[in-house]
Point group: C2
Chain length 235, copies 2
DNA sequence: ACAAAAGTGTTACGCCTACACCCATGC
DNA sequence: GCATGGGTGTAGGCGTAACACTTTTGT
């Protein structure tokens, strides 16, 4: 990426940026994290930024986002959602760049990070302790975070972060971490059970010197008419 | 606009498309309408399409949408909202074109239509009787319509379509037309009044051989914390 | 026995929905 | 006086939010 170029008709370039979130830590201290790359090229070289890059010709936006994410961070097979498109002049010193912002939620431990291409490094950062970000990526990140929180109750995305078998407490802690607010345990459990999207699993889980918890698994087949309800998950 | 071009780096072009809606007709027969232009250029010449066009370099997306709308239809000073961005390859025969779709709601009688530039004509069409549309504009229109209906209760947009003084029945008919479903009169009135965003106006209005209705005006100052409520208007 | 997390029900409130009758006016 | 739309209140159901104690295990 060099300085601005001249085109037959001057026109903005199109990029995709992706904010991938995960939740890390033990049950007692979960933290919401976001995947950032350290830029190896062009402006803001050395700065941390959201993964992303230019959309190729004849490439769908979602495909471009997946490709860039894989190239720069090694992440593959991630469910992405479009958030918003930002094209304010001046947001990129190279010229006019319109970016289509995406968001995802993944289990960090199910993916291998591999910084390549334009990325010198790829790392998870606590959302509460971000480094200064390149371009307007700080603002873009806020957009994605808002979108993520709004969508949490409408999509099954949160089950992506849990192991195949999990306890209700784990699910609740996860949601609390993403939403950054406490939820009432009894209301949470009742409403999750009413959704009938979880099936109990034989066996229990121990976590130290405590009563073992029941294990459940997510049943995707049971996930029907989810979007039709006003609020599917109890958040 | 001619055939596809070659760039230093092949890259998608960026357009904006705008679906402007209005409500037309008498109180007894309101119809939701959308503003379409008849293309005078390039592919789909002669077909009807959403107004829109290429984003200039160093032009913000909203500005581009306003400019294109003014150029092709004569509409100015319209409040636009971004809906979604679509960039599926093949959606434009000229090459890869990414479009940022916008939506607006205006009072048709407060604007003068003037088809210029790429538009041979500009006309309001009933949403229930659309002509075949160019490109994938039929799908884009569905996206905007969904967005409009979702946002109707969260924004004061609907007051844009009413005269300065209006009756509650007029407001209700308007909302029913946009949502394409009937609303309960008493519930509607109660909830609108609870919002305290309307002020009664001295005087009454006659509408034929009936009891005159009270007139109200919208009080923008009273429009506070509107977005904070889950559902601001009773839809 | 005690520490620590798991598990469980009820109540109060607000919101939404459904519903029917009288009122004021023009003709 | 009648046709037409304007205007009003209440009761039931539903979902949400608040809230405390008992159970099970490991140490």
């Amino acid at each position: 990426m060099t300085q601005r170029r001249t085109y037959e008709w001057p026109r903005p370039a199109v990029t995709v940026d992706i904010a991938v979130f995960t939740v890390a830590g033990t049950l007692q201290g979960l933290r919401l994290q976001v995947l950032l790359i350290q830029r190896n090229q062009g402006p803001f070289r050395g700065h941390w930024a959201l993964p992303g890059g230019f959309v190729h010709e004849n490439e769908d936006l979602l495909d471009a986002a997946k490709r860039e994410l894989a190239e720069e961070t090694g992440l593959r097979d991630v469910y992405l959602e479009q958030v918003q498109t930002v094209g304010m002049p001046g947001r990129d010193p190279r010229g006019h760049v319109v970016t289509v912002v995406h968001v995802a939620l993944v289990a960090a431990d199910r993916h291998q990070l591999a910084a390549t291409g334009d990325a010198r490094a790829a790392r998870w950062f606590d959302v509460s302790a971000l480094p200064p970000l390149a371009f307007d990526h700080g603002q873009l990140l806020q957009l994605t975070l808002k979108h993520l929180r709004r969508r949490l109750g409408e999509t099954p995305a949160c089950f992506e972060l849990l192991p195949a078998q999990f306890t209700l407490s784990e699910l609740q802690s996860l949601c609390e971490t993403i939403l950054d607010r406490p939820l009432d345990r009894r209301n949470f459990r009742r409403k999750v059970q009413e959704l009938k999207i979880l099936a109990p699993v034989r066996g229990t889980r121990r976590e130290g010197a405590h009563r073992p918890a029941r294990l459940y698994r997510f049943v995707p087949q049971a996930f029907r008419g989810y979007a039709s309800r006003r609020q599917a998950l109890p958040f």
